[in-house]
Symmetry: C2
Subunit: 251 residues, 2 copies
């Protein structure tokens, strides 16, 4: 019996997501990374640049899940309040981290390392730095909370640094069957297959493309043989219904 | 003095978002629609296809905000559990809605309107249908919760039907200044400008493009004159710092 998989939540911080200015892509990247690591992402939230909102969300999520990943709000400008909010959530002081300060000081020309840039070296007391290959400004980890940048390129580098330190589980395997039919036609057989294969999750995702209805059926589970058995049961059901279909990915 | 703006939250429902299979774009579309309507989007959440999780999130959000918009989980398949979860959240029964049943029955050929397709006519007691121009299967509204499809094309049509019924407020106006400099160089002047113009929100969004650092500064507010005054103050500050910049959008 394998260990229970670790659980995780994402907290995206930023007015620009809630105003519609920016399409968040960080959640999807973190979700894919966690799936490969076998960590179960259970929830994602977006809140604005508001300390009370950030504190409430961080505390709700860190109590409930093994890991929390935040993105956004750790730059040098006045609207970057994540580090202060995380310190408040943990009830600890915040101060300049000597190593972060040294790293940043080395990056700037004399006279350019101003007070606002120094803000990027402030972390809650007790936090460890999350260094990364793209930006000199680090993220940080405190308790089970990983605080990352919002700029996707920087966030990805931070996630790459964090990934090896997480408790890995058996990755979730999936296989996808593309079906040329509406969902309603196959829904009954699909429900039966799900009842018969309870160790996997069968998802049904309709799409319209080139004026045609179709469905992607995704079987997900941690046991490859069980995923394959459920996929074959679906294929047999589709053959019986004389519905065109094809296995498109298995990973 | 205008009325206080209505507040809103989004709840995205679906394992496919948390597994990383699907990049959510519905949140961004709803966010943009609400911004135009002058409704303040305060929070967004993503939960999986799990009744307890959906119930808890819906109840937390509907208590707190004027409107809640959900997407996903209202199709005909076994993993479409949103209608049942919403009924449970409101503590009401769920049953076939006669009008939805009639609309769907008219869509299918004789013999094709099977039990799974009929599931799409089930709504919590007391709910009103949200019809739309794309799909015969309706969404629904109960209390302050609007339940929409997950397929973006259908969700957009539902949002279009819902929008005129919402309490509109003064739309949030914004103007964007693109700056050829790192954030740290302008952060101090920017913080000063924000302190001097407290009726607007100034956001600073760094980017890397064509190997160059830059920042988009966004001034947002409901009073056009105040937005313009803050934008001019930022431009004056940038001129003083001899930093190249350009006004890129005002809307």
């Amino acid at each position: 019996m394998p260990d229970t998989p670790a659980t995780a939540a994402i907290l995206v911080i930023g007015d620009e997501i809630l105003s519609g200015r920016t399409q968040d892509t960080n959640t999807n990247h973190i979700a894919k990374t966690l799936a490969v690591l076998g960590v179960d992402l259970k929830e994602a939230r977006v809140v604005g640049d508001d300390q009370d909102e950030i504190v409430a969300a961080v505390n709700a999520l860190r109590d409930r899940y093994d890991y929390v990943f935040t993105t956004g709000g750790i730059g040098p400008t006045h609207d970057d309040i994540t580090a202060d909010a995380i310190a408040a959530a943990f009830g600890v002081e915040i101060d300049y981290h000597p190593e972060a300060l040294a790293m940043l000081a080395a990056r700037y020309k004399p006279g350019e390392f101003n007070d606002m840039r120094k803000r990027m070296a402030r972390v809650p007391l007790g936090a460890e730095l999350v260094k990364n290959s793209v930006s000199t400004a680090p993220g940080f980890k405190i308790g089970n909370v990983y605080v990352m940048a919002g700029v996707p390129m920087v966030m990805r580098a931070m996630m790459e640094a964090i990934a090896p330190t997480l408790r890995h589980g058996a990755p979730v395997l999936s296989t996808t069957i593309s079906v040329e039919a509406g969902e309603g036609k196959i829904a009954e057989g699909l429900a039966r297959t799900q009842r018969d294969h309870q160790t996997v999750a069968i998802g049904s995702y309709p799409f319209y493309r080139d004026d045609k209805f179709g469905v992607q059926l995704v079987v997900r589970g941690r046991d490859g043989a069980e995923v394959e058995a459920a996929a074959r049961a679906i294929e047999a059901m589709l053959v019986e219904l004389a519905v065109s279909h094809a296995r498109v990915t298995t990973q």
